[in-house]
Symmetry: C2
Subunit: 144 residues, 2 copies
């Protein structure tokens, strides 16, 4: 039977995750992308090259981060985190956010990220999602 996760359990699962699926609204319609992220305080931090996702979030800042942990067909947990997109433009804040991301994803470097997106002139965009609601559901035996 499917059960609701407690808020604390949902927050821990979100904090321990690395890969989310980000839902945003682009031109009124849904758009989903996989996204590496780091949670710090009440925020999820991530970075991205310019493109459809960023254009969408700038115009419609409400987003949904969904993270799952699957241990079997009938044993899984899924978290939904809702919040508001905030682009990080302040240099000090940008550096802090990059440090958080590098600590979790050591192979990521800003230069590498720029090179890989092919936008040599555009520095990667760093953003965070101000989380205002985190909840989830699971199936199988509950965590002790």
């Amino acid at each position: 039977m499917i059960y609701e996760l407690g808020t604390e359990e949902a927050r821990i699962l979100l904090a321990n995750g690395r890969l989310a699926h980000l839902g945003c609204v682009v031109d009124g319609d849904p758009y989903v992308v996989p996204l590496h992220y780091v949670v710090d305080g009440g925020f999820a931090y991530a970075h991205s090259g310019e493109g459809r996702k960023l254009d969408g979030m700038r115009a419609h800042p409400r987003v949904c981060l969904q993270v799952e942990e699957i241990d079997g067909e009938y044993r899984w947990r899924s978290v939904h985190a809702f919040g508001t997109f905030e682009e990080i433009v302040d240099d000090v804040e940008r550096e802090r956010a990059f440090r958080l991301l590098f600590a979790q994803f050591p192979r990521l470097t800003p230069a590498d990220s720029v090179r890989r997106t092919g936008h040599l002139d555009a520095p990667p965009v760093v953003f965070r999602v101000r989380l205002d609601h985190v909840g989830g559901v699971g199936e199988g035996e509950r965590e002790p």
Copy 2:
């Protein structure tokens, strides 16, 4: 470097996938859920218990299915399929859709599905997404 998938490559990746992340719009905001699906013809078929996702898609039928295949940090492909939600209510069509789903997911049975959602009185909803655009991106060596 990240490259765009050809339409045929994207369609094959979508057809071979089993688990998508479905993005829909609920009350104007994005919502993402993992979803098992089967592609047949120009449609992706799935089933669901009643809830937020179905309420959202009934009100705003445009959806996004995103499917990824990850072989490594720098070797992955991701497909976006956009389309329109259609609830399947005709009995013959429902049975056909269930057969497609059972063939892919043998452990799924309608009774089981009803039991697991806890909605004993509500039969599972079967729906399809009429696909109108499939594309994607990848990173790493291209398929030969």
